[in-house]
């Protein structure tokens, strides 16, 4: 066993990369749930984003276009969910589960021609001298663009929910759709917008896997990341910064266990592999068990019917 091979700075840098997919998916789902909708289709939207992003990135050679395509793909899929649950009033849990299964199947079909295709190379954002700061440079300034974009989205969601009128209305719709309707807010349109945003974020998260992290297309490559993102939102008590902390914790543990495996620690591989899931949940449960920490939107998952 040789723990000295683990470099702390590299570890932190790679945990940020490792956490970015669930961070993106989680922050999107947070917005959806804040509007009172429970979309369990995150996994399906991620994998759809992954295949759309990979396909466009490979064909155009541009990661940026790939990510745009992924966001559009995720949003399009989420709007199927939106149409079914908001307009046709179907059950959100069942529809969300179906969306995951549908997304997995659709992505496998779309990805037929891309199995084994080599992905494109995505380099770090050139930040000049910042990247050369010892330690800090590796940790913070040698990442690809999406890592920074994901952080900007978290900050934007936090500020938007807290300080803007649009955010206030979104929270109000999630708290009590009847009251919001009585005040004249278009509940269904607001929720559809939130669902599309969540779908776009999940798509970006999936594409981060296929374009940057792996980078390749394989069927089912999200491997449950969407479910972790869903759990993250709940345990983070619907607060953006806690979603960030939870995602980085999970990412950190994942990277750490990979490093420990490489270093040859005498613990069964299976135990190491499941540790991140277990520890993340334990930590988040401890955080969210505090008094008043739960902040579930009161209308979460309930159907809104405009009966006039």
């Amino acid at each position: 066993m040789d723990l000295s091979s683990i470099n702390l700075f590299v570890l932190i840098a790679s945990l940020m990369v490792s956490a970015t997919p669930i961070l993106l998916a989680g922050i999107g789902e947070l917005v959806v749930e804040k509007s009172g909708v429970l979309n369990l289709g995150v996994e399906g939207m991620m994998i759809t984003g992954a295949v759309c992003g990979f396909a466009i990135a490979v064909q155009t050679g541009s990661a940026g276009l790939g990510f745009i395509a992924a966001a559009l793909g995720g949003a399009a899929l989420s709007l199927i969910f939106g149409f079914l649950t908001q307009v046709l009033m179907s059950n959100q849990v069942a529809t969300g589960l179906a969306l995951t299964l549908f997304g997995l199947g659709l992505s496998a079909l779309l990805g037929q021609g891309f199995i084994g295709v080599k992905g494109i190379d995505v380099g770090p954002v050139p930040l000049g001298p910042l990247a050369d700061i010892p330690g800090l440079g590796i940790v913070l300034f040698r990442h690809d663009g999406m890592v920074y974009v994901s952080l900007l989205i978290v900050a934007g969601v936090w500020a938007g929910l807290r300080y803007t009128r649009a955010g206030l209305i979104l929270r109000a719709v999630g708290e009590s759709h009847n009251a919001a309707h009585a005040l004249g807010y278009p509940v269904i349109r607001i929720r559809l917008a939130a669902i599309a945003f969540g779908g776009a974020c999940a798509g970006l998260g999936g594409a981060y896997l296929s374009i940057v992290r792996v980078p390749q297309w394989t069927e089912g490559m999200t491997a449950g990341a969407g479910w972790i993102a869903l759990a993250l939102v709940v345990f983070a008590s619907w607060r953006p910064w806690r979603v960030l902390a939870g995602a980085y914790l999970f990412g950190g543990l994942t990277v750490l266990q990979l490093n420990l495996q490489a270093a040859g620690v005498k613990v069964p591989v299976e135990v190491l592999s499941m540790a991140p899931y277990l520890l993340t949940i334990v930590v988040l449960v401890l955080i969210s068990s505090g008094k008043g920490a739960s902040g579930a939107p009161a209308s979460l998952g309930t159907r809104f019917h405009d009966s006039g």
Partner: protein, 519 residues
């Protein structure tokens, strides 16, 4: 003088029901206009049309002589119409200022808004802290949030839908004073209620609706309450018939019953003690959210407590569940009839079997006797005049009043020793309410102890022998109803102790039964 609002021949139909039919009414500037009618008379539909929440099928509205057809609430607000809802359109998780901002079309910055809220609320004698979370406010304070939200938009017409249903008499007085101030400023108020007393105290003009039609207008200052009631209900109300009865022995003794809150917004029960005797109707009054649900759950057995805190004729039952308590003769009917007292999608027969299987021996060795259950359901339907096609109808197909009669009848026919009911006539039309009150009185005449938890003081004044008030989970001492004035009741509801000479039988002072060892 041009009328502020004139409604001409308005009609609105929903599938299967005409909510408003040929409704006309006129509101003058500076007038408090009452819209009077029973539940389901079409009052809410009418004001929703005025507020732009629904579009009428026929008819027109004139605002200061101009055609007025709001397509959405923000158009109504821009015209000068504001509305305080019966079921508050507030968001518990947000603070007062945020809630107010949501009701405005062009809110100022939150900090400026907070200053404005504090100023306006003091001006009208309705003090309010803009930074408090709405979920933590009392019902009266929540209503203030709604009112302040309206007043900030400087409306010409303020619509109030059943505003006093959640207020103590003292809070209602404060509200009335604020409404008079508004009237003096030349604003009009459309005041919806079915409480005749307050309409006579407050309003200048009344329009009475029944079954969606205007059945008359009256000057509430000169018309008698009986006249108004007759217009509203269609028949003269009959008084409850009751025998003069002697109270029997104590049946149920509750001593220092406490329950912890289950969530942040839940009201705990604190040291509740009372005694009820056979043949007694104990009315427990209180404003919504003061622990009524918890008290019903503690008595029915849904939530267990210390074994000896509740004692039924010598048996400590605090730790027993609902089935065991039912077997001993303590039955209950919770407030929410659909979903709590009855399973919505199940038939009346099934719902009968659900609570009656043990006490009415509808099951043997785990096998249900459906024939007998159906017989019992049919009995309830016949005896309590439940209007339904039959016992095979599902609970949710019944109207509120009919389902409530069914739920009450189902418990009454199971021969209870003690019956606990919460809000027995909430949202029920006057005829059904009278029938339910009569049934409860008859039950007490036969020697059952009846505990009526209700927010309707008129109901308690009418049927209760003794009265206690529930305030923030504490129960006042019990007093004979006849000895109490309205003012004393109001003080009790607010948690104060009125000076009384007739306090009766607090459990501590009473000679405890053999099984009731002193704690």
């Amino acid at each position: 003088m041009t009328a502020l609002l004139e409604i001409r021949n308005l009609r609105k139909a929903y599938p299967g029901v005409v909510a408003n039919d040929d409704v006309s009414l006129t509101v003058q500037p500076g007038e408090i206009h009452a819209l009077l009618g029973e539940n389901g008379a079409g009052k809410s539909t009418l004001v929703k049309a005025i507020y732009g929440l629904i579009a009428p099928d026929q008819g027109q509205m004139l605002w200061q002589g101009q055609l007025y057809a709001p397509r959405a609430p923000n158009m109504a607000r821009a015209t000068g119409v504001a509305m305080v809802f019966q079921h508050f359109s507030l968001f518990d998780a947000l603070n007062v200022a945020e809630n107010v901002a949501l009701g405005m079309d062009h809110p100022p910055r939150l900090r400026d808004l907070s200053t404005e809220i504090a100023r306006v609320s003091t001006d009208y004698g309705l003090p309010l802290d803009p930074n408090r979370r709405v979920g933590d406010l009392s019902a009266g304070e929540k209503q203030r949030v709604e009112i302040i939200r309206c007043l900030l938009q400087k409306p010409s017409l303020l619509i109030m839908d059943e505003p006093t249903s959640v207020l103590t008499p003292q809070e209602a007085e404060t509200l009335f004073a604020a409404l008079h101030t508004l009237k003096d400023q030349g604003k009009s108020i459309l005041y919806i209620s079915h409480k005749l007393k307050e309409i006579r105290a407050l309003c200048d003009q009344a329009t009475i609706l029944r079954h969606g039609k205007v059945v008359g207008t009256a000057d509430p200052q000169t018309a008698t309450a009986a006249d108004l009631a007759e217009l509203m209900v269609g028949t003269r109300p009959t008084a409850i018939a009751r025998q003069v009865r002697a109270m029997g022995d104590p049946i149920l003794t509750v001593q220092k019953l406490s329950l912890a809150p289950r969530s942040d917004n839940d009201t705990p029960l604190r040291d509740i003690s009372f005694v009820i005797r056979a043949g007694e109707i104990l009315g427990i009054g209180g404003v919504a959210g003061n622990g009524q649900d918890a008290l019903l759950a503690a008595l029915s057995g849904e939530r267990s407590s210390q074994g000896d805190s509740i004692d039924l004729t010598g048996t400590p039952i605090g730790a027993l569940g609902p089935t065991a308590r039912r077997a001993l003769g303590l039955l209950s009917a919770p407030e929410e009839r659909l979903g709590h007292a009855a399973a919505p999608a199940m038939t009346l027969t099934e719902n009968t079997a659900l609570t009656g299987w043990d006490r009415s021996s509808l099951a043997r060795g785990g096998w249900l006797n459906w024939g007998k259950a159906q017989q019992l359901a049919q009995d309830v339907i016949t005896r309590f005049d439940v209007r339904t096609p039959g016992p095979q109808a599902v609970a949710q197909s019944l109207s509120g009043g009919n389902l409530q009669k069914f739920v009450m009848g189902r418990e009454i026919l199971q021969d209870p020793k003690v019956l606990v009911v919460n809000q027995p006539t909430w949202g029920v039309d006057a005829a059904a309410a009278a029938a339910i009150r009569q049934a409860l009185t008859d039950l007490a005449d036969q020697g059952t102890a009846v505990i009526v938890i209700s927010q309707d003081l008129d109901e308690l004044t009418e049927i209760a022998d003794t009265f206690a008030a529930l305030n923030e989970g504490r129960l006042s001492p019990t007093h004979p109803m006849a000895d109490l004035t309205q003012e004393q009741i109001g003080l009790m509801l607010g948690g104060d102790t009125p000076i009384m000479c007739s306090e009766i039988s607090p459990p501590e002072a009473q000679n405890p039964g053999p099984a009731l060892a002193a704690p």
